[in-house]
Symmetry: C2
Subunit: 282 residues, 2 copies
């Protein structure tokens, strides 16, 4: 497994791989790799000749009061993880390598980032779209892998890819959960055992809402209320949002007619967690 920190070096490796007719896969990550990343990597490993994992904690996607400084960084563990998952190349540039000068160019996607996380993290998806596009332009992947846990991010990337005619296939990979339903996330490391226990309420709330949908409820407010009732039972957890959104536009719906996501964000003490469930309609 190669570990590369500069753009010039990875461009050279990619160029040679492409010349040899090899397909390139990219799993963009911020490190602190877990079984969710493992699933992205395993799928990429199965589908691509040269599998690249990027590890970069992107300052552009963190707000001024968010957890950029605190975000877990554990490169040695991550490299071992990648090695075990038969990754070919880890690209782990430092901040100066990706942002040598003040960034003046941003990718802005309209509509999709407006609600849900975008409402509480202004600029977040702009930062995500911009760094992902930079990584695409450096790694030139044929396929790139994103988790459905970050459903709004996935939609932003899909929309950017379509609108900008990017020559890459975006592969959506299902959320990986702990046995008790908690979606795996790098931020789960912030939780102490008690908080870890409380955190399961988000998945339970989403499921309660989902059950309403399965039972035939089409009024989004009632579906949401069922989820909120579950959240309210957990005093250590504060709801940031719980919404039923159109699965494509990520805009809340009033009446559920087609594919939607039930998406939630909660705070468990100082830790923000998100999760969602997809409902394809009937």
């Amino acid at each position: 497994m190669q570990v590369i920190r500069t753009i010039a070096e990875i461009r050279e490796v990619i160029r040679n791989a492409k010349r040899a007719g090899h397909s390139v896969g990219l799993v963009p990550t911020m490190g602190a790799l877990h079984t969710g990343h493992g699933r992205l990597i395993d799928q990429g490993r199965a589908e691509c000749d040269l599998l690249v994992v990027s590890i970069f904690v992107n300052p552009l996607q963190f707000g001024p009061n968010e957890d950029y400084e605190r975000y877990p960084r554990c490169l040695n563990d991550d490299l071992e993880f990648c090695e075990n998952h038969r990754v070919d190349l880890v690209f782990c540039p430092d901040t100066k390598e990706l942002y040598p000068n003040a960034q003046k160019t941003y990718v802005e996607v309209e509509e999709i980032p407006r609600e849900l996380c975008g409402r509480f993290r202004p600029g977040h998806f702009r930062g995500v779209a911009t760094v992902v596009l930079k990584l695409f332009n450096i790694v030139l992947p044929d396929r790139a892998y994103f988790g459905e846990k970050d459903a709004q991010q996935l939609r932003v990337i899909q929309q950017m890819t379509a609108d900008l005619n990017l020559p890459v296939e975006i592969v959506a990979v299902p959320t990986v959960r702990e046995p008790d339903g908690l979606a795996v996330s790098s931020r789960n490391r912030y939780l102490n055992p008690e908080q870890r226990q409380s955190a399961t309420v988000l998945y339970r709330a989403l499921n309660a809402a989902f059950q309403q949908l399965c039972a035939g409820e089409r009024d989004a407010a009632k579906v949401v209320a069922a989820g909120q009732a579950v959240l309210a039972e957990e005093p250590g957890v504060r709801e940031e949002y719980l919404e039923v959104v159109d699965a494509e536009s990520m805009i809340p719906v009033k009446t559920i007619t087609g594919p939607v996501r039930i998406a939630g964000a909660v705070w468990v003490a100082n830790t923000r967690l998100i999760d969602n469930l997809y409902w394809k309609g009937c």
Copy 2:
């Protein structure tokens, strides 16, 4: 010479060219080709194995009251022009091919588009950057050619290319002028003989300003005033702006210390013309 109208077809041609190890050059145009484009094409022809000219009047870069509808369209003449300049491939998609759905993704460059044309054409450079990035992602050029006449556009594209790590070399090509100094432009076709005569005042004004610089004047206001005095002598021409800007940021300077452009925009009846001169400092 191949003439291709669909993204799928050109992707196939480009893929084969790259597989064969050929370099690809792109000259993005809105058609109505003239000797300025000819110079871009000739340079691309000399430097690239496969030379692509795109012809697309991009609605995204026109404001609601601008000349999108009126913009000259003369594909047959343009194809003949390209044939004569030994272009390999003309890519001339229709609007639905490049924008099959409502575009939600835009490239925003900060600072550089703020003044000059950007002040009078809000959204213009966003539209330019977005379509150029789309074309880059379709044609995957090794080199792309842009004229210095559109100096602010050139800087926007250069900045986007650097900030987004685009794997393309941006080649700046000097402005081509008529014998009387008028910068060649597709919009010159709008001018009747009398207006065509008046239009030369822009180049004369820029030169008058430039002479001040050469004479040692470093106060931008005085340099501009010398140009404005010339413009004022031509009653059929209305100044939109005349500025001395930093050649990199395209922001007006007060005192001239380093490389600048003297840039102007004028209206000759209903026709808007721009031009600029580069001064590299001393």
